[in-house]
């Protein structure tokens, strides 16, 4: 089983397309919508995690592209401004998936694969050093 995170951009004409349904029914994938901003008639965005066999994911991505949806690998959506960070560690106290942790030297480590974009760290950071670009 593979797991991939996708950053989808919907053209206005496809904003209401039920893509999660097709990914489940037609490709036997397990979709998990991490964030979405979809309005009928407007361009929309979705951060989608899919789990399934590698070939099925490739086929699902090809289906989405065929529907006119732009598919990019999700990356660098949570940004840590290291000049602002004072390594207090407070963000680690609210990060339930364990994406933000302190190593043995109390330095901050960010494992983007574990991030679910809940934004708890964005709100908790007293330096406003963490931002979410979406």
């Amino acid at each position: 089983m593979a797991r991939r995170r996708l950053d989808l951009t919907f053209p206005p004409s496809q904003a209401t397309k039920p893509i999660a349904y097709h990914l489940v029914k037609d490709f036997d994938l397990t979709p998990n919508i991490l964030r979405a901003q979809i309005q009928p008639g407007q361009q929309g965005r979705m951060l989608l995690e899919v789990v399934g066999p590698r070939e099925a994911i490739d086929a699902g991505v090809a289906f989405l592209a065929g529907e006119g949806i732009e598919v990019l690998p999700a990356a660098s959506d949570i940004c840590l401004d290291e000049d602002q960070c004072v390594t207090c560690g407070l963000c680690t106290a609210v990060c339930k998936p364990g994406a933000l942790t302190l190593d043995n030297d109390s330095k901050l480590v960010f494992d983007k694969d574990k991030c679910v974009y809940c934004e708890a760290c964005v709100v908790a950071c007293p330096r406003r050093a963490i931002t979410l670009r979406f």
């Binding site: 407070l90 109390s106 330096r127």
Partner: protein, 390 residues
Amino acid sequence: MAKSWEEINARIASGEAVVMTAEEFGALAADEGVSAAARKVDVVTTGTFGPMCSTGAFLNFGHSDPPIKMGEITLNDVPASGGLAAVDTYIGATEPSRTKGIEYGGAHVIEDLLRGRAVHLKATGPGTDCYPRTEIDTWVTLEDLNQAYFFNPRNAYQNYAVAVNTGDQALYTYLGTLLPRLSNATYCSAGALSPLLNDPTYRTIGVGSRIFVAGAAGYVAWEGTQHNPHQDRDEHGVPVKPAGTLAVIADLKAASPEYFSAATFTKYGVSAFVGIGVPIPVLDEEIAETLALTDADLKATIFDYGVQRRSRPALGQVSYAQLRSGSIEVEGKTVPTGPISSLPKARAIAAELKRWIAQEKFTLAAPLQQLPQPGSQAFKPLEIRTEEAI
């Protein structure tokens, strides 16, 4: 093996002093014993870098022509005190901006000044015979000011609470976001590096002690507000709850933004991370005993912030080693922990202070006056009463 302040200062002046951070001293004492470590080492440096709300700065702007007696004063839209002489003010770290609220406050003004940025000064005055101007609108930098110095009424808390929340709603506190139903715990101390945990009965730290304040050489000015030496202590005499505090003074012009950072706690307010470092002379084995304590020896008390009262229920004690491990046990539940006080910054401060002493011959000052000692004063609450009841 007792050493005097004079002997230690003579060794600093001649460049022979052996200086270690509190972490290094703890490791040496574990290897060679406290007596041997006490003989070998002259000075132990400490450091802490946490949010300290009772922080601020006195500023003098100089006089405009014609002059003004400033009453209502703002700096980058943050109100500053107009209750001093004509062009003196005090800007408090927690004061929120009139336009940006808690996202920008007094601490941010101080950080901007430290970074060399120009700050927008606006003031109005009554217009008097000696101060005829009634309004002023100008820009100032730290360099332009006659005097600018920190006077922080309460810094370097000796130990602090471990905060948890047994309630059903998330709480937004000065100790960060406390998730409901014991889902996290936050704590705020440098532990083994913390200044007042290394000298728990204030033998060497008192009024007049020369210390590190936000990168500048400063002084302990007085006991800090809410200084509470009359607090529960462990077998080493170290408080297990928030106890002593320091009021400190230092030149803002000599300070560095590396060791001062403005902070905003969501739905709470503005605060400031302040770097404080205190050098402690290894006078004898008694002080060496507490200098040698490690995170495994030092304990903090867990308080339930879900009970929004002055006295919050205590839910037990944990060591700083347990807190730093990433989780603690509270009421049978494993609770993940997160710090608020920066350990990497605390280490950098203790190391920088060590460099000052070893390389720049920063000598130590014995207290001119002791801080109130354990048992000497209790902490008073504020009772709500009417004039008739007095």
